[in-house]
Symmetry: D2
Subunit: 458 residues, 4 copies
Amino acid sequence: MSRFSEPPSETFRRLNDSLAFDRRLAHFDVQQSRAHVAMLASQGIIAEEDRDQLEKALTQVEDELRSGTFPFADGDEDIHMAVERRVTELAGRAGGRLHTARSRNDQVATDMAMFVRQAALDAEAACLELAETMIDQADRHLDWPMPGYTHLQRAQPVYLSHHLLAYTWMLLRDAGRFRAVLAGTAALPLGAGALAGVNFDTDRSQVAAALGFAGVAENSIDAVSNRDFVLDYLAAATTCATHLSRLGAEIVLWSSEEFGFCEVSDAWASGSSIMPQKKNPDAAELLRAKAPRVSSHLTGFAGVLHGLPLTYNKDMQEDKEHLFDAVDTLELTLAAARGMMQTIRFDRERLSAAAEDEFLAATDVADLLVKRGLPFREAHGVVAGLVRKALSEGKTLSQLTVAELHEASDLLDEGFYELLQERGWLESKVSAGGTSLAMVRRQIEQARKRVEEARSGR
Amino acid sequence: MSRFSEPPSETFRRLNDSLAFDRRLAHFDVQQSRAHVAMLASQGIIAEEDRDQLEKALTQVEDELRSGTFPFADGDEDIHMAVERRVTELAGRAGGRLHTARSRNDQVATDMAMFVRQAALDAEAACLELAETMIDQADRHLDWPMPGYTHLQRAQPVYLSHHLLAYTWMLLRDAGRFRAVLAGTAALPLGAGALAGVNFDTDRSQVAAALGFAGVAENSIDAVSNRDFVLDYLAAATTCATHLSRLGAEIVLWSSEEFGFCEVSDAWASGSSIMPQKKNPDAAELLRAKAPRVSSHLTGFAGVLHGLPLTYNKDMQEDKEHLFDAVDTLELTLAAARGMMQTIRFDRERLSAAAEDEFLAATDVADLLVKRGLPFREAHGVVAGLVRKALSEGKTLSQLTVAELHEASDLLDEGFYELLQERGWLESKVSAGGTSLAMVRRQIEQARKRVEEARSGR
Amino acid sequence: MSRFSEPPSETFRRLNDSLAFDRRLAHFDVQQSRAHVAMLASQGIIAEEDRDQLEKALTQVEDELRSGTFPFADGDEDIHMAVERRVTELAGRAGGRLHTARSRNDQVATDMAMFVRQAALDAEAACLELAETMIDQADRHLDWPMPGYTHLQRAQPVYLSHHLLAYTWMLLRDAGRFRAVLAGTAALPLGAGALAGVNFDTDRSQVAAALGFAGVAENSIDAVSNRDFVLDYLAAATTCATHLSRLGAEIVLWSSEEFGFCEVSDAWASGSSIMPQKKNPDAAELLRAKAPRVSSHLTGFAGVLHGLPLTYNKDMQEDKEHLFDAVDTLELTLAAARGMMQTIRFDRERLSAAAEDEFLAATDVADLLVKRGLPFREAHGVVAGLVRKALSEGKTLSQLTVAELHEASDLLDEGFYELLQERGWLESKVSAGGTSLAMVRRQIEQARKRVEEARSGR
Amino acid sequence: MSRFSEPPSETFRRLNDSLAFDRRLAHFDVQQSRAHVAMLASQGIIAEEDRDQLEKALTQVEDELRSGTFPFADGDEDIHMAVERRVTELAGRAGGRLHTARSRNDQVATDMAMFVRQAALDAEAACLELAETMIDQADRHLDWPMPGYTHLQRAQPVYLSHHLLAYTWMLLRDAGRFRAVLAGTAALPLGAGALAGVNFDTDRSQVAAALGFAGVAENSIDAVSNRDFVLDYLAAATTCATHLSRLGAEIVLWSSEEFGFCEVSDAWASGSSIMPQKKNPDAAELLRAKAPRVSSHLTGFAGVLHGLPLTYNKDMQEDKEHLFDAVDTLELTLAAARGMMQTIRFDRERLSAAAEDEFLAATDVADLLVKRGLPFREAHGVVAGLVRKALSEGKTLSQLTVAELHEASDLLDEGFYELLQERGWLESKVSAGGTSLAMVRRQIEQARKRVEEARSGR
């Protein structure tokens, strides 16, 4: 088939052949060939009887692929060659017409765009499912106080529901990001030929419509050089994996004996080969561990494209392994996050005990002084002094005497003790988006609505 | 102001302080404080006279910053502290009220969102300008034939205009990507407080409206933990920088004596310290070189966020240097690409001579056979045989005899020589998005329209 | 000086000029010029009086640089040009002889190799200092029990000294890695000229000896293309920064109220702008945060070199910013780690209370059974059963009755309670490298010896 | 065997199980178990008859693994469990003693260290083989002139041999780097137990000796936390892959019609699915493409370790896929580079024609002036003026008249034309490491010697 007289070296075949990984494009490849054949016939480029034979052969190929009986042959370098070879075995000479008016370059770009589109839709759906799981868990733990942290230091108390919902909003943004990936896959590459367009009067719009593309790529050179959509997916996946790694890291942390805030169910944990008492939150650790892997696929593939002259270069074959592993990793971690979060058990007592740390009220005390007229910056200084005093004497805030309070500020009186006793520090956060129950309830409603909207593609 | 008794170590200050780089947030910080103060007053949280004093001080701070007379002080750890300190110097006790109902955590998230929004808009505009430069150059070199390449091997001839326009479409997608970054900056963090919301009845929507945010972040924990928008910008920048690196690489290549397709103007080139004859396309090389830098900022910052428990952690301070350098790099490379492309000179003769290589017609010959009834795959084989024959005998295709043609296929006749002679290989690419002149003209129109639409925000 | 007729564009200057960052090479540049000039004269390539004038001028340049009075001029693109210009101002026509028999390409490679060598030696020294600090702290906390963790779950008790020493061994390896970087800087690039060698009978060995290189680069093309040593440094820095990030992460964790194992001194912590009680371990967080930054410089610069044809290309100018920021970051984090660890306070009670968790003895119980003849895998199963029973009944291990023990294994008797009571779980780890006191003492001795050996270059 | 009551979730199994990839550690795992068992028996920790049974079982396991008949079971999570399970099937109760005095944590660290050691030795050998191939090709093309490039502009002529040898020196450094990786694998982790050492009087030195380790890890916590050696390998691989990518990029470039310097053999090239004339240098493109993949494994795995508390965490399981793919990629690209370079054909005429470009003599002309007394910087200016003049008038240098020469400098005379005619520009590069034939011959000798020294481990 080529102008070559020498067969490929075995090492070259190992380096060059992509069938081992690109076979997962098979379904898209056949779909695309169907649409291409239909167009060729309706434009009169191939005869109707050729079309019929090709369609029949493609149907059989699809069946064989689905049932796992597709006979791969030794010389199949990639999935496209495998399919065309098989079609030719089945359709005879007509098989040789399948590749009319297209090239491997526009063909593989089209397969990849279709793959990315599907992967992005799957990821969007999985993000929304996990978002919903987090809402359900928020609902179930609505008024469970826990400490909120900054710098991993207890800062202000929040409800567990509020904390869990933070992930819902991340996931909603992730879903939006995957939805936005679709825009980059909207222009059909097929019909660009090798790089310059083709010598036939094709109707690319017909093919685009058949395959679910919004339109056709306007420049044939760009069409075969473009892998932006792979980078788009990898970028969305990186951010999403980063969110999951933060979730994983928190569950690992909270599962420690020291925090003791939660316990993952046995189905999502491992034991130790040597320490019989161990229960390790492996699933959470792996959620944490996968983000660098996904993000390194992004850098890796951007690195491949860097400095690459137009149009198609073999380097671009690297798009597949980077993308496929990222897709698999993300699919698995999203599913695992969901399973783990659905069955996790939180420990109300441990959470609540930690939230009762009086020092968490320091901001509330400062705000009390603000409401009594002290500028915030001064109020902050007054309370910092009280904290310093209490810590150095090994006391809690409520163990300070009225005299000590007065010394710090004459605006302080019994209200100080009341504020500490009422433990209303959570309900005082009345601002929009704050942790007070009313706000969390509104937030849950809002989040459920957004999930629904996203599901219906709005 | 703190509960501490010991001053910070000098090494710690060097590690911790961010004023050296975050001072470029100054303008956004002041703008945000203005909106915050206005809201505090209209909600009755501070008195109107305090507001007036704060506004006056903020105006002066802005003037000082603009004129470069702002008096930074030794203890200023970051720009927020510097501004607040100065406001307090100017407004007296009222200054102490500025930080009421907000925290450094929501404040810095807000500054960063505003910065990213501006940077994305700037990048979008610069992409559109460069896209337009490429269209202008396409217009100017409409019908200049050149070889199109795959695998850096001459493949099929195209017009230079068509090749240049490929970059236009990349840049239009880049512009779209930067526009999409805005979505991630639409929710105002301010008002989230340290992490839990605030103890005051604030009106966050008022602040959002004043600062150009579409709404408010719905979850205070997420609001202060979220840097997705930084990743969004860096991802868009990575793809854009990768496009520019492909352009840079091509200009370097085309500037070589061997290609000789173009020459960058003296204003965009360098000489050699030792070789007097050298003219180096340094600007093009730097366009190429910057993509890994931008993309490594993305991995770097995603790495910082990886596994980070909620909410704010000091690690997140790293967002700034990664982002700022990426923004500066991109701004400079987009401007440089434009300047270089506006003044570059192409060499019509060299381009055209290279495009006349007869082997570039091989696909056209195969398609001729297809039109005469041969299945494409067989036609491909026939022509490959002719090419092999010609190469091994050191001939061009048109030097093959009719007898030799017949031996290869009886469908071949004088039409073969005509096809080679007419050199109509470019105009034969009549498919949509192809390189024929009619199609390129339509493409230019289409591209100009898209630039305009993008500029008006459609 | 060049063949150009047009001045550089302002944007090009901004993109191209490197003086802003490469001025830190100044010292090495002057040193190299001294050695070069001496060789030129001793080979008779320049006259002795020219040499004298050049040396005088170089001495003055060095003084000016040191005292900050060096007069940079507007047209200085880079430090090499600035130095040569100034030398020519001072030495008159002789200045024009400075660049004889060398090129910018071998000159800058030489500067960079010298810079890397110094940076690697500095980093090695800083690693050894920190290693020593960790040993000192181990000495001071020799027999303080604490829980050892796997998967962040308490696993087996160890001594704090043993845990701190783990970092010593990492740092010793880091020091070794920085020492190994020197090997890559041993071959002098200078004398390679632009890429092909020079037209003069130079004595490169003389220059090498003068500048502390072990020999000369054997291939002039490789000499100017080579930046391996930059990658070497960045790789060593990545591993070192990763170690520091693990240390930082642990200190953050241990500083939490939940762990409560340690408190960084006020000099290495920050307060909060809004929460008066907060003491945030910022230095530890920044140790953690810097690793991705360093590692992204490595990927970034490897990305620049990827696919770059030989020999020098302007892209290679990117080596500087990646390297310099990595060097600064590492220097600062190593110093900060040392300062923080020297002044940190550990809480003996909290550590010890956590270490007394009886479940940490599970492996010891299993090993008791092994010593009584049970295969380890069966012993592990028996103890896992006991743990499950205890947990499900809310008991500690020692609250299980003898009857319950017998039910699990007839090899269990009162020895079980003794083992739990003796709390000899630490001292039972008698194997080499284990946590028993004798072993830790030996380890400290060993580690001190290794630090000394490393310091003396062995 | 664990304390759990619930079976693992199917999704968790998919996420957690590592058998699919860690089975390639099987050989090392068995080897290690042999050494462990021998030591346990010689220390009296297990009986001699148990040892005999275990050894017999391990021998059979090894045979089964080698012959592909090893019966993997459904519950095998990883290779370690698979081997232990099978040993227990074969050896009965004695199998339960295999895991005495060790843990999965030290076991897997040991397997990985052994794997890295082997991979580094393999990579070293492959680098040396490729280095030798490059020397052989240099020998074969010793005096073939070609242009040397900087900034991809012709700069000065060199011999093809000299250019090819540049890669030899890179590869020699690579070999040295892989050799240096061994240092990081010299300390045996086994015997560290889970993290704290073990309760048995083991003899780790015996095991170390048996497995080829130089000594034992001195700190059990570090032993199980340490994956530095994986980073070491990945760093060496990154630099090596970057070198190969530069080679690949040059071959792609030189294979273009425009350069026409070489042609890869048919066995290392591909055709086109649509363009019959195409011969694409796919192998060279893939050499170029693989560097970002390898380097992204380094960032990816460094990212995994970043911020990870000691000791073992499940995240560290990610070491395997990153490492294995890097090892496979490197092995394949080194072999491919060798095969491709052994069979590549260079085109003497095209190379030489390009090298005769008179402008390449500009530095020699300047140096002529220097030898006649003009300071280099002035000489450079004179020649730049001549070049500008020639270019603007469309002349070559030798077409300039004597009058024109005099106008530029009165030091110029007929010697100018002689210098241009003699084309001695290559042989004038007499400095050490330069391109003159004598120097290249010396270089080849030197390089062969270094290969031999490296092979014998010196």
